[in-house]
Amino acid sequence: METQQLVTIVPWTFIATILNLFLQLYLIKRFLFKPVQEVIRKRQEKADQDIRAAEKAREEAESVRSEYEKNMANARAEASSIIDRAKKDAESRSEQLLRAAEEQAKNLKTKADQDIRQERRKALNELKGEIGGIAMDIAGKVVEKEIDEKDHRSLIEDFLKNVEEAS
């Protein structure tokens, strides 16, 4: 078979090689670089997007947190004000109650005093009458003599006075 020389430049092979080189350049660009660079670009984009989303989520969380803290502070203030009010309420209420109770007690006491005094007077009066009768009976029996009504009465009166003083 015919062969070319060992060291030679064949013009058509030379031209074909240049064309081949540029064809290969196009093919390698089209089938390796373009798709790979595209996918790397997409990945980069996705990473950027993820970072942006994370940033946004962080900001949101931050705002939620600050809102929560604000709410908490409000709630705490409100709670303390409620407690204050309740305390004040309770104080005034208890004071009122105490005052009412005191008044009631005073009333009761005065009423009881009055009752007691009245009862005592009644009892004394009753006792007076009864004792007078008994005394007269006893005196009548003991003396066995009729003393006039007037002496009698004054005797009894004396006695009663003594009794009253003694009581």
């Binding site: 078979m1 015919e2 062969t3 070319q4 020389q5 060992l6 060291v7 030679t8 430049i9 064949v10 013009p11 058509w12 092979t13 030379f14 031209i15 074909a16 090689t17 240049i18 081949n20 080189l21 064809l23 290969q24 350049l25 093919l27 390698i28 660009k29 089938f31 390796l32 670089f33 798709p35 790979v36 660079q37 595209e38 996918v39 790397i40 997409k42 990945r43 996705k46």
Partner: protein
Amino acid sequence: MNFDISGAKIFFRIPTGIPVLGDILITETILVSWLVMAIITGLCIFLTRNLKVEKIGKRQAVAELLVETATNLVRSNTGGKRFDRMIPFVAALFSTSVVSNLISLTGLRSPTADLSVEAAWAVVVFIMITANKIKAGGVLGYLKGFTTPIFVMTPFNILSEIATPISMACRHFGNILSGVVINGLIYAALALASSAILHLIPGAAGQLLSQIPILDVGLPAILSFYFDWFSGIMQAFIFTMLTIMYIANAAEG
């Protein structure tokens, strides 16, 4: 036994009658370089099949590694992103060169064992260098560059300018051709040696066995490690690196 080394086989000749260019020759070089292109393109298509943004497979990892390696090589040698559009060219040059060199492992003749191929590449690179020089300094600046440092140096400057593509082409070609020559010599010599040794066996058995070049198994594989693998990859790398460096230098003016 004769041993001779010849150029690429000519399978087909298309007469054109054009004076300088001559006939179109469909040679081994052309056919194998088509095969090389098919291999590279097929590999590219295979590696970039169903690319994904997340959870990439091994094939995609390799594809991305290749692209990134080429990008880093160009960027680190030119210092910056100015030559990013050159990356696919560099990748094409390197991959074509490497696959052309290594295809000799299959017993085919490397296209790079034909000076026409390297000359074509070197001329393309030379045109790129010149274009970058003109772009950097203008036509006048480019022409003026030949007269530096003094006017007397002009012929030498022109010579060194022309020497660039010639040296690039011949370096690559010489290395590959020397591999072809030495491999051929060693195969032939070992065949002779095994024939001579096996001929010592008396009778018909010796006659038969001496036809088998038994010594060709083994040693050439070790030598091929240097001449095909190391030299092949090295020359492709050197050619590519020189391309990058020359173009980057040219653009700096």
